[in-house]
Subunit: 428 residues, 2 copies
């Protein structure tokens, strides 16, 4: 228990508090959650991953949720509302002031993976006629939201007219009007329907501190700030990394054994089907395996080399797609390059494995057969490693999630077919 007390030191930031909670096993986490003040809970909650958030919300009474919501931003309240039962959601909404209710409902109008759900409404938006002195007075008497690097200019109709850097304002004469200052030379405004993935791409490329969000009529709705971009980027990278092992929904290191087992069982089941497909292919060659047992001994080598080479191409392509570096105009040169790599490595390892097989089983034909099978499998692996994720992306499927299963199935089947097929032809 001393570790818990230490890691939940209250001088830490809400993000750290969330991080520490997520690092605790279930029982200790529940205890630590109860030991937090209401303020700490409402601050840490938005930074917890969904799976963990849901578990903690399930153990929180409706009354308390209403109190937690009071201290949270509209987008975070919307997120909580999405995760609790309809009754509790209604109770929370009913408890909000009219202004807060409008903000929360505006957030709920957008999907949880779009900008509209997460935008911040605390913007400084002023008319172009304001003088620098007026702007500075406005800031002095109001509130300067964190991550404010620009002041937005809006018309009477709340339509967005542009933005002036805070730096320009601080360097201007007091009498100058906003409209006399240089507008920020940036045409990038976000739309509320934009996906979080596209939004993080904008921040990665443009080095923004904040970016305005406009609706389709050009009305300023709010802004997205770099700290949000950092969180979503991390989530995206986590998601992609975990997806490669079929773990796209495994947020919680300490998820309950039963729910974790169920999720992973799906992945193991899909993999089992592909493994049985490979076994079925091998089963077609029972006669030759019985006669030339060396084929059984060596067959994992062929499948494994194909799988590894294919996963290298697959990984590069998935990353390239995620970073938007692969498009229709460069797929061809990329395929040529990957096939070139496959030819060179195919020849190198075909010869190496061929010689080892020849030396091990004193059978030159066996060496030839396994060499050819490896070359064929490495070429097929390069083709599939590139084309499978590109095709999945076009089909709007997640290449990180399904790419590796499809690829392994192909390299297994092609590996066993070519090796055992040639073996049956040349070795019996």
């Amino acid at each position: 228990m001393s570790a818990v007390t230490e890691t939940l030191d209250t001088s830490i930031s809400p993000t750290e508090l969330a991080h520490n909670l997520e690092s605790l096993p279930l029982a200790e986490r529940a205890e630590a959650w109860l030991a937090l003040s209401q303020k700490e809970r409402s601050e840490a909650l938005p930074y917890l991953h969904d799976e963990i958030k849901i578990a903690l919300l399930d153990n929180t009474s409706a009354d308390e949720l209403v109190q937690l919501a009071e201290n949270m931003e509209a987008s975070d309240v919307a997120d909580v509302i999405d995760l609790v039962s309809d009754n509790v959601a209604q109770e929370i909404i009913d408890s909000l002031s009219d202004a807060d209710k409008a903000s929360v409902e505006a957030s709920l109008d957008y999907d949880e993976d779009t900008v509209g759900r997460w935008l911040k409404r605390d913007v400084i938006a002023l008319s172009a006629n304001r003088s620098v002195a007026q702007v500075l007075r406005y800031i002095r008497t109001h509130h300067l939201p964190t991550y404010t690097d620009q002041v937005f200019i809006v018309g009477h109709d709340k339509k967005y007219r542009g933005a002036v850097a805070l730096a320009s304002i601080l360097q201007a004469e007091e009498g100058e009007q906003l409209k006399e200052l240089p507008l920020i030379d940036s045409t990038t405004v976000l739309s509320p329907e934009m996906s979080l993935a596209d939004m993080t791409m904008v921040f990665r490329r443009k080095h923004f501190i904040s970016a305005p969000v406009l609706d389709e009529h050009g009305t300023l709705l709010g802004r997205i700030t770099a700290d949000d971009a950092i969180s979503f980027m991390q989530d995206e990278a986590d998601h992609q990394f975990m997806s490669m092992a079929g773990l796209d929904e495994e947020d919680d290191l300490f998820a309950p054994v039963v729910s974790s087992s169920k999720r992973r069982a799906v992945w193991l089941g899909i993999n089992l089907l592909t493994a049985f497909l490979a076994s079925f292919v091998i089963g077609q060659f029972e006669a030759v395996l019985q006669e030339v047992v060396a084929l059984a001994v060596l067959m994992p080598v062929v499948a494994s080399m194909g799988g590894i080479a294919g996963s290298q191409t697959l990984t590069i392509v998935i990353r390239g797609l995620a970073l938007d570096k692969i498009n229709d105009s460069n797929i061809r040169p990329l395929l040529v390059k990957e096939l070139g790599v496959a030819v060179l490595n195919g020849i190198l390892w075909a010869v190496t494995v061929g010689l080892v097989a020849f030396w091990w089983f004193s059978n030159a034909t066996l060496g030839l057969v396994i060499g050819c099978a490896i070359l064929i499998n490495l070429l097929a692996a390069a083709f599939s490693g590139l084309l499978i994720p590109v095709a999945l992306e076009k089909l709007k499927l997640d290449p990180a999630l399904s790419g590796s299963v499809v690829l392994t199935t192909l390299t297994d089947v092609i590996g066993f077919l070519s090796f055992l097929g040639m073996g049956a032809w040349l070795l019996v």
Copy 2:
């Protein structure tokens, strides 16, 4: 070519320019690079990945490098100097003004994966006695660096005394002195020796816009800003993702075929050794394989289920280690949970595969043997999936890079040993 002209539109940011260059095949990239103005080249260069940067620098004359360096920040010049030959490096250093030379050499004092190399020196650092009016005048007459959210307070000795938020300054009365304003309540200062991985962890947890960097005497050296944190986070996530396929140095989608083949050959060679080890294990059972050919047909199923289950645990643990969520106090509960998942899934799939094998080969003992082998392999996979990356991390080796090879070796060997061993014992 029209795609090139379009994507290299000059109104785009330097990061986008770098991104577009990286998306081009080698020949077109070289052409596009030559078509850029000197200014664009010096702006885009810092955002290119090392592999691509080196190739472009190799084709650039020393004279031009000297000119490019004139427009670059000290840390970026240091990076170029690290990547070019000693002669060219000396030419660049000699061409710098004394002040620039001092900054570049200060950057070069630190490793390229530490904060000291990349810190920005453009800080606002003032004495605590300055009034708000003086600070505002200072900002008006000097330069307000981007990502300035705080003004640093330093003593006569340049020692760091704390920081005041720009927001506090803008909301204070003109006559107030900096020392009367609230200091930012943050004890997190960075050290120049801190690794970039640790630095990004700080930004992820603390939502900083900028953070001061102090040397061991408490002297303010500069700051790190959120845009740098975003870049390094992306690089780190890429690195980890690519490492899982042994591609930790493959920055360039369009790397030359020969150099790419060489790098990947190393990984394929390591994998071949583990595949041969598996073959060697199978080779010990030639007699039983000849007698019961069903064992040869089914053996990929055992190895594959172990490999997939193990890679799920491995992925979770590697991610947990990278996010600093796994520590000595929670390894035990995590192991208990992963073993629990392995027991449940082990039983489920042992029974399923056992029944299929029984039905397929009409052999109940075979069903029993494969069922037991799968259960054993899934338990071993959970153990190794957790303990291998933890051990590699303690040995200061990259778990993402070597974890999967070690794991697959283990699940292959244990899978084949248990399946064929029990087969030899019970089926002959």
